[in-house]
């Protein structure tokens, strides 16, 4: 647990440093489109991914899981390349911001349509089953809003019917863009939905790093041990707008106040020291390393070539009929 905990904590620091840099660049007018931060989601994302192995498992982070991408093993350089549309990045400027992935690593590139990736992850696990590959699990994220989407329902039911080793993490950050929970769903808890599909359910306070780490470890281990699909509902508050274009003025002051001392990164810094895993000096050193790493990666991505329209292969298909 200590090793995973330290890696998860470091991923959280890296993600927060990256978000801070992204926000600054957005405000300076250096970004192409929207910028979507994961503030408030770091513990959930880092803890869910830290128990996975790139190339073995399947991980499908989405909009606020930068910390998960770091914990899975991707450098923030790849995220920076995606945002900046670098020709060196895996999406080569053809898709951007959080829409990137390396499918061959077990990390599919998510589309914008919420819920669509649930069945894709199911298919990736189904392929492994058909190929006789054992021991792999898949983790994917839903938000409170995503649970309302029809594709989510179809995909979750599919995972359950096939009894696939999938952990679905539902991050309830209280707002789907600007829409609060009471206009999004009417069940008492989003855990009820998982139970309804036939998942084993878990709940945790997603702002409590140690609790989240323990919950994710349990859920991923259960899926890996063949105990069927697992459903984790993690509560937090989105500590930012939907994107940096959004001032989130619709979040009531009382709610912000209730979460004021629950920034998951601040909690994690405290808890890794309480556990005796890191000293105050270690924590300060991790923060400095992460800020420096983000600075280096962003500078590199900014220097890299951007895609050239005239040199781009505009084929949408890999196969073409032979001419005669």
């Amino acid at each position: 647990m200590k090793e995973a905990g330290i890696r998860a904590y470091r991923a959280m620091e890296m993600a927060r440093a990256f978000d801070t840099k992204l926000s600054a660049l957005y405000k300076a007018g250096k970004m192409y489109g929207g910028v979507f931060l994961g503030r408030g989601h770091e513990a959930i994302a880092a803890c869910e991914a830290v128990f996975l192995t790139k190339g073995v498992d399947v991980y499908n982070p989405f909009i606020r899981e930068q910390a998960g991408r770091c914990a899975w093993g991707y450098s923030v350089l790849e995220s920076a390349r995606s945002y900046l549309g670098s020709a060196e990045g895996c999406m080569r400027g053809r898709d951007g911001n959080i829409h990137w992935g390396v499918p061959a690593d077990g990390n599919p590139a998510p589309i914008s349509h919420l819920g669509a990736m649930v069945s894709v992850v199911a298919g990736m696990l189904l392929a492994k089953r058909m190929q006789g590959i054992q021991g792999a699990v898949g983790v994917l994220n839903l938000g409170d809003g995503t649970t309302s989407v029809g594709a989510t329902h179809e995909g979750c039911n599919m995972v359950a019917v096939e009894k696939l080793p999938v952990v679905i993490v539902v991050t309830n950050n209280q707002f789907a863009y600007s829409t609060p929970n009471e206009r999004e769903f009417a069940c008492a808890s989003l855990a009820d939905r998982g139970r309804g599909y036939g998942f084993t359910t878990h709940e945790c306070d997603g702002t409590n790093f140690m609790q989240t780490l323990a919950t994710m470890q349990k859920a991923v281990a259960a899926a890996r041990a063949g105990q069927g699909p697992q459903w984790v509902v993690a509560e937090t508050l989105r500590m930012c707008g939907h994107g940096e274009h959004d001032d989130a003025s619709y979040i009531p002051a009382e709610l912000k106040a209730a979460f004021a001392d629950r920034d998951p990164l601040a909690v994690a810094r405290r808890q890794v020291q309480e556990q005796g895993w890191l000293t105050a000096e270690d924590v300060a050193a991790v923060q400095t390393e992460c800020v420096d790493e983000v600075q280096r990666c962003m500078a590199q991505a900014q220097k890299e070539p951007t895609p050239v329209p005239a040199e781009t292969d505009w084929s949408a298909v890999s196969w073409k009929p032979s001419r005669y």
């Binding site: 080569r92 898709d95 590139a109 069945s119 298919g123 599919m158």
Partner: protein
């Protein structure tokens, strides 16, 4: 021996399962002793255990699962019970699967079989043609076989092509269309249209179940008026074989395009646009279109017959075209 169009499809799938262990079949009611709403997969689940899987009624998730399986190295052949229901999978096919190669560089080997087109009593939701809808999006190939031999050969080719292929099987042809064999010793490559019947007075470009209707009209015109109509079967509406169409129009000087689809923005419109853009000088008369009515498909057989083109309509349209 006499074989049908659906026998050819069954045979192609049996051979594909036999030849490549990465191939599997996925769809609603296709497994067990039932073998699909049209029995295309009957017997295959017993012959290939674990490789013919029933899915829940969830068209979006069926396609999403196929995408995931293809990312994982499998070659899924998906059956939609009716093409009309395949519209529910449009998002996964067109926003996810079709965009995947351009976005990530990884083509997805998925074959989407959909029984399409009208039959008496089919009504609005078991009769539609969806080729234009799917072909609109970059990143898919759309096949519309009109013969027993093409049903066999083109389905086998669909799985050899590494990209998503929409394979539209016309329900009217399933058991009505017969041949001595499904084997064509020298099949035309995919992407080539076929001159089904040579002629000199006008070219009729068509595909799917409108091919036999058009041939009937051509026979009648030949017998009654001595008009020799050149009939071109597109075979694939995407890629579309503009060269063969233009060469035919160069010989005849007149063009009619016949489609069972709705008229607005359909394949017929695309063919007319291409000939007008690239071969206006070849035309001796304005190019014409004959499609179904711009109206939902009716239930009663008398209304249905009056809704879609049939051989008399085609013959009348050709007679008109020749007067222009």
């Amino acid at each position: 021996m006499s074989v049908t169009y659906i026998d050819a499809i069954h045979q192609a799938m049996a051979e594909l399962l036999e030849e490549d262990e990465r191939v599997f079949l996925y769809g609603e009611d296709i497994a067990g002793s039932f073998g699909g709403a049209f029995k295309a997969t009957k017997g295959l689940a017993d012959r290939f255990p674990g490789r013919v899987l029933n899915a829940p009624i969830a068209e979006d998730a069926i396609m999403g699962t196929a995408i995931g399986a293809a990312i994982g190295g499998m070659k899924p052949i998906v059956e939609m019970q009716f093409a009309d229901f395949g519209i529910l999978a449009l998002n996964q096919m067109c926003n996810n699967a079709a965009a995947h190669y351009f976005r990530t560089g990884m083509p997805l080997n998925i074959t989407l079989r959909m029984p399409c087109g009208g039959t008496p009593g089919g009504g609005p939701y078991h009769s539609q043609m969806v080729e234009a809808l799917f072909a609109h999006f970059p990143g898919v190939h759309v096949f519309t076989p009109a013969t027993v031999a093409d049903a066999y050969y083109m389905l086998k080719q669909a799985v050899q092509i590494p990209d998503p292929v929409v394979f539209l099987e016309h329900k009217y042809l399933y058991r009505w269309l017969k041949a001595d064999t499904w084997v064509d010793a020298d099949p035309l490559p995919i992407g080539r249209a076929r001159i089904v019947r040579p002629g000199r007075h006008a070219t009729v470009v068509t595909y799917s179940a409108m091919v036999p209707e058009t041939l009937k009209a051509a026979e009648e015109l030949s017998a009654t008026s001595g008009y020799h109509i050149e009939v071109v079967d597109l075979r694939t509406v995407k890629p579309i074989d503009t060269d063969t169409i233009l060469a035919s129009v160069a010989r005849t000087g007149r063009l009619l395009v016949v489609s069972e689809d709705f008229p607005w923005g359909g394949v017929a419109a695309e063919v007319v646009a291409r000939v007008a853009s690239e071969g206006l000088h070849l035309l001796d008369a304005p190019p014409l279109r004959l499609s179904s009515r711009d109206c939902p498909i009716p239930y009663h057989p008398d209304l249905w017959k009056a809704h879609r083109p049939h051989s008399e309509d085609i013959a009348a349209a050709v007679r008109y075209l020749i007067t222009l």
